[in-house]
């Protein structure tokens, strides 16, 4: 192996930097071109419910990533005494909403529930979920083919995978 001296190393770093900037710039392009899937289907998204991590579950369900948005309102308690019954509500001011999904980051399987919102249905839903421990609850709203998310940490006193 050759030893890298000062000026060369600097040049390499600059090149690497430029390369990653280029990658980030290009990265946005393919996403827009991808067709909306899964949530628009009528089938039960079995694969998405089997994924362990929240990121994998979002990918399996929608095939794309979400960006945080303050137009998604996630209503969850600061502290849930009983992780078996955590009231969670999601609403949004976004237009053309087609689905709303809820993920609990550190549950054995992150995806908890996914709701299809047909035309004429108000994009707002309330339900109760189980939480294994203190972790983030993530709400994803699919609006006009794009994903928007809101995240809130809920402290769980007694884990709820005991049901």
């Amino acid at each position: 192996m050759t030893t890298i001296n000062g000026p060369l190393a600097t040049r390499r770093l600059i090149l690497q930097g430029a390369a990653s900037v280029a990658l980030i710039g290009l990265g946005n392009l393919p996403f827009g071109a991808q067709p909306a899937r899964a949530a628009a289907n009528d089938k039960y998204p079995e694969e998405a419910f089997k994924q362990k991590s929240e990121a994998d579950a979002i990918k399996a369900l929608y095939g794309k990533t979400a960006e945080p948005s303050d137009k998604v309102k996630l209503d969850a308690p600061e502290i849930a005494e009983n992780g078996g019954v955590v009231p969670i509500a999601v609403s949004t001011t976004l237009d053309k909403v087609t689905s709303i999904s809820l993920f609990v980051a550190e549950n054995p399987n992150a995806l908890a529930a996914s709701y299809k919102i047909p035309d004429g249905t108000i994009p707002s839903v309330a339900n109760r979920l189980k939480m294994a421990k203190t972790t983030n609850v993530v709400a994803i709203v699919e609006s006009d083919g794009k994903l928007y998310s809101a995240t809130k940490e809920v402290k769980v006193t007694v884990g709820g995978c005991g049901g």
Binding site: D42, Y44, P45, F49, G84, V85, V86, A89, V104, N107, P108, N109, L111, A112, A113, S114, Y115, K116, I117, P118, G120, T121, I122, S124, V125, A126, N127, R128, L129, K130, M131, G160, C161, G162, G163
Partner: protein
């Protein structure tokens, strides 16, 4: 047998608010019984609300939804006296359905 589904649908102008409460164990498959054996997963997978032959709300659920699940949503286009059909199917193939009158 009494239905497992209890629904209240209230029309307020153009918007109908629906509250549904379903009796179901929603076993996650991670819980052990008193003998230390795992209780197999048993949960509702799909819950559907239909008004005038059109789906107004469809829920896909995993085992992380609480026991005896509750859900609330609202939709437009229904009026007092209309019927709302509700049905669910669980992962063992069991199902139930009911019809509620919007009040």
């Amino acid at each position: 047998m009494a239905s497992t589904i209890r629904v209240r649908a209230t029309a307020n102008g153009d918007i109908t608010e629906v509250l549904a409460l379903i009796q179901h164990p929603m076993d996650s498959g991670f819980v052990k019984d008193s003998k230390g054996e795992l209780i197999p997963a048993h949960f509702i997978q799909e819950l559907k609300f239909e008004h005038n032959g059109k789906d107004v709300f469809v829920a896909d659920w995993g085992p992380a939804v609480s026991k005896d699940p509750y859900v609330k949503f609202s939709f437009k286009g229904a009026k007092k006296g209309d019927e709302l059909n509700i049905s669910w199917v669980d992962n063992k193939g069991a199902s139930d359905a009911t019809t509620a009158k919007i009040s």
